[in-house]
Symmetry: C2
Subunit: 269 residues, 2 copies
Amino acid sequence: MPELITSRQNEIIKRAARLSSAADFRREQGLFLVEGARLCRDAAQSGVCIRTLFYTAQASEKYTEYLGEIQRTAQEIYIVEPHVAALLSDTKTPQGVFCVCQMRAGSDKLENIEPGFHYLALENIQDPANLGAVLRTAEALGIGGVILGGSCCDVYSPKVLRASMGAVFRLPFYLQADLVSAIGLFNKRGFVTLAAVPDSAAQKITSVDFQKPTVLFVGNEGNGLTAAVIAACSGSVTIPMLGRAESLNASASAAILMWEMMREKSGGA
Amino acid sequence: MPELITSRQNEIIKRAARLSSAADFRREQGLFLVEGARLCRDAAQSGVCIRTLFYTAQASEKYTEYLGEIQRTAQEIYIVEPHVAALLSDTKTPQGVFCVCQMRAGSDKLENIEPGFHYLALENIQDPANLGAVLRTAEALGIGGVILGGSCCDVYSPKVLRASMGAVFRLPFYLQADLVSAIGLFNKRGFVTLAAVPDSAAQKITSVDFQKPTVLFVGNEGNGLTAAVIAACSGSVTIPMLGRAESLNASASAAILMWEMMREKSGGA
């Protein structure tokens, strides 16, 4: 029977709560907190190393099947009282299931990027729901991975994890504050680098030949890509639109851009 | 100087609050409530008939420019105290600007649909954020309009209005509980009717000839389209995907499907 934690002052709990709220503590520890029965099960199924599993007595009745899968790989297990679980939760109605997970080693170094795939590079994406949605779509479409450039929000934040529906556990991603120097590396390695811009004079995304491995750069919703990134890329592309182009939001435009990049590989006519 | 409303018991306020919370009251009155300086300004700019404008003294200082545009078309104007504004608000941090607006007359009758355009038909979309996002993308891509079939959530709900970024004010839409009988009407009028399905045996969306006016049917996130709708359509289409197809969410898949439908019209190669 796992140990019961009844106090919000418990050091293990305080540490897990801090992993949920503080990006710098996550980076320092190389750990992050996952919330929710299904998302924790996804982490286990995706081969994420689960250091600690916390669950409430209520959750053990409601999510027996999910918990069974998580328990098989979790290194430590604790039962927590609901008022303790509330401290770990980022949601209004917590399910009472949480895992402390280990970040993937080495996945954040751009030098490790695999050749031969198409990649998406994001600059300064601030909205966690947008970032999560883009990662989810990238995984669905079979993108090789995502480069997070500039000051994107942390992929390991509770909101991004949730919106990504677990894509964060499986999709390769690379943190790179300085995107301009990354473009130099991509060009050297034979990637085509394309900046997505809302400019009808740019090349239409539909006329791009995506035979060569390509990195597509997408900026944040309000400001788009920085001028330095646009200038460093080998070309600029745009989505031709008949309607009110300013209405296309960041995750929808990223979906269309990624789709065009993968269209032929996916067997599109 | 507009009249000041200081009481939450004021009948005008109670009625406006009910327009925000109750879809049946909205339908009965033919009115809806819009919240936020920018969204209310969008309504005014889009030619929506604004019956009543409410704003707080704080808002009049912060959103002077937006309010100026709204005031020019509003039929009645009231200043409200912050605790009264809170009653009208659907958000955590209200801006203190609200409009009671009139629904467009006749736009909900399928008989009024304009020929020669491509349309999107949604069945049983339950999530307001998803519905708003889809309407927003439809407007950006120049879709002729959206048919809301089965039991979709109300387009005039505060969450849909907000997520649509005002597309509800401009995009034609049609309410049609019985989609199967609507398909009969579309077929008679010369539209191609296509059901989007997650079935790799269906025709690839990339190989569809969209020369003829088409209505594309998209189901809800959990269950997809009903069997009756799929059977009634003239064909079924699917998005070919290399990755984890189950990861594509409703608004991203609707974006890709609409994009493919409009791709050639938009000048795609």
